[in-house]
Symmetry: C2
Subunit: 472 residues, 2 copies
Amino acid sequence: MKLYEQLADSIAQSIQEGVLCRGDKLPSVRQASASRNVSPSTVFQAYYLLEARGLISARERSGYFVSGGATGMPTSPEPIAQMNEELTQVDVSELVFEVLESIRVKNVIPLGSAFPSPLLFPLSNLARTMASSVQMMDPWSSVDNLSPGDANLRRQIALRYMIDGLHVAADEIIITNGALEALNLCLMAVARPGDTILIESPTFYAALQSIERVGLRAVEVPSHPRDGIDLNAMELALERHKPKACWLMTNFQNPLGSLLSDEKKKALVALLTKYQVPLIEDDVYGELYFGDKRPTPAKAFDTEGLVMHCSSFSKCLAPGYRVGWVATGRYSKAIERLKLTTTLSASAPAQVALAQYLQKGGYDKHLRSLRHTLLVNQIKFTEAIERYFPDGTRLTVPQGGYFLWVKLPDGVNALEVQRIALANGISIAPGPIFSAQKGFTDYVRLNYGHIWDARIEASLSTLGSIARDLTP
Amino acid sequence: MKLYEQLADSIAQSIQEGVLCRGDKLPSVRQASASRNVSPSTVFQAYYLLEARGLISARERSGYFVSGGATGMPTSPEPIAQMNEELTQVDVSELVFEVLESIRVKNVIPLGSAFPSPLLFPLSNLARTMASSVQMMDPWSSVDNLSPGDANLRRQIALRYMIDGLHVAADEIIITNGALEALNLCLMAVARPGDTILIESPTFYAALQSIERVGLRAVEVPSHPRDGIDLNAMELALERHKPKACWLMTNFQNPLGSLLSDEKKKALVALLTKYQVPLIEDDVYGELYFGDKRPTPAKAFDTEGLVMHCSSFSKCLAPGYRVGWVATGRYSKAIERLKLTTTLSASAPAQVALAQYLQKGGYDKHLRSLRHTLLVNQIKFTEAIERYFPDGTRLTVPQGGYFLWVKLPDGVNALEVQRIALANGISIAPGPIFSAQKGFTDYVRLNYGHIWDARIEASLSTLGSIARDLTP
């Protein structure tokens, strides 16, 4: 049993024994750290675990309080208890590749996929737009569209920022081969081999792979399924490890689905500004919100050009076109030059087609329909999980995106679930691929971005049986 | 005056004084190295210089002999005298970027461009093909086209290898965002920061930039404008520096235009196989031959999977589509994984369009027409250079491609030529951007892949005047 689990159990015992009563305030993290002689992050992890068990709850800027009782499955947030005390030399790639390669088998039910179903996109409309735009394409656009990219597309993207209340000049935008390239260019622009990068835990596995590839080290900061990265833990990590950059997702994080509030984004940017650490903001799911309006990127609160905001059209409009971008902040020159020496530019026909599609309107209508479909799917998925999955299953219901981060009953091995599920024609994404330490062994990420039908429902029933069979 | 120049002058004096007569064999490189107490590469450089001056000539596998006299400008090959005794920490990027950024100004006559005119390509035919193929595109191709790439396109490329007499399985081919990405992925697959890479001198500046970006060191081996890299010098470099890879262009090298004979390619691969050093073969100009048939890639002589053959459609069919590939040899897995973690895949619409274009035929007809245009342009360019450029100008007439590597009279500063030319609305590529040591200060690379007209002719006349004015 780990230190934070011991601490959590000891506090849980105090609650059960009535030493701590409903409504009582728990000691602050620093107090508990001092009195229990453990690190602050161990306290964070213990508190998260207790919150997950429904024993305590956090009140904004007040600390943790003993709750009235556990919240019911499946809507209770499950915390992440993986604060990494030390730097990690990342070597998760082999596992990630094995899992991703197994997932890419044809004809499986792709609940492990990172992409929503392409059938949810206006592909024939896009194809018609491309057919007309490519035939009108200026021959010299092949030269003009070199990095930083097609001028009209950059203008259209800047316009969307403006509509969302951000001022981003078209000049600040560099078009990339999807958001993945944007994120990688940002990382290379600010870090050299041996440097440390601050990431959240769990994190998108591509961040782990990039960190590993470039020869960087990771410091993992715990992230909460509901409201994202822990800023107190982050400040400790900033002080202690002097990272060269922070890479995270602010909106509907992959795999958690967490969403940072505006308040928290503001605090995040202020904190990073204090330490002058650039933020690589991965915001590929921001358009897929179920609330009233698109959640603000952290970049909106950046006054010093420290935030590199990366996004793409791959998850909400044009999968496979491989068109993404970065709003570069103060790192324009470095990023553009890296782009010029690695892939030169994004595909010109895809750029002009997307520019024309955005210009003629219809994108917002498509997005409204896509968001509605995803929300309906989410409800169907959570209902099915409640129906078919064994007791002890927990999940968070995110406010956007298309991922569910599901905690299976304690001790169920997600890699084993994945292996058996695949043999049954179903893919899932097991928890360990989202952590440098290969933790989250009893978590799975499920993709609900697929058209709901009896086959999908049957696959969830099968997954539930597999998890039940594997429950110790 | 450098050591090799002193040695060359001393030998030239012996020839002028009749100590060495026409037809006399010069001492072997090893003999001269021992007797003169200089390094073998200094002897190579001196012999190259003398060959360039027309004083001596090489006979295959026999050594150097005193010639009858100098060959006339502009058809005499000019040697490269830049054997680098030591490893070079490359830091040429700043200069390259400055020059490339200045070149990208609109409305200049683009003799410094790396691309041929897009007007030489069947763009409207391609656009029609794309219009039809994108509308028929399987929605799931966005998922299926992930690295290694569209199956049909890979098959079409394998078919072209077969027609050229090479057996390359479709499975060995990975589609990339242009050849530049292919080359970079190959480099990352076999080298780690601090490793040494063997390159030719002069070399394509992107190789220098990649080596610099990844934190590698370069050992530069002299390359001859007519028949390419010096294999004797290469063997010395292999022995001495134990490079992790060799990166070079076998066909119509950029900037030289040099072409390795089949014999020499075979010897090159045998040499690298002996030292078990992988070859990153950049062959983007191979289709642009003026001879009877496409020159063979060095990969044809590879029996151990050591050669990674990189090419693209950017220089001969579809500029701006950003579709290239690598035939990976034994490095498939590493390269595919690097691709998956950096840019994921090439643009799906561009892949399906090119696959369909290749399938329906017409590519070879286009290539015949393109080659004819380039050859006619080359003749017009060389005639104009002979007419307008000052005495002391020399150039090699390559057997393919669209670059002329022009030696200006001794002491003319190519960077100064570039600055003045740009002020006159003409871009050129100055010699120093092709060398880690920023050598070749009196060379320029001119692009003749533009439609010949009075404006182009006038620009060559202007360049000639600029060079004349700058001649000491």
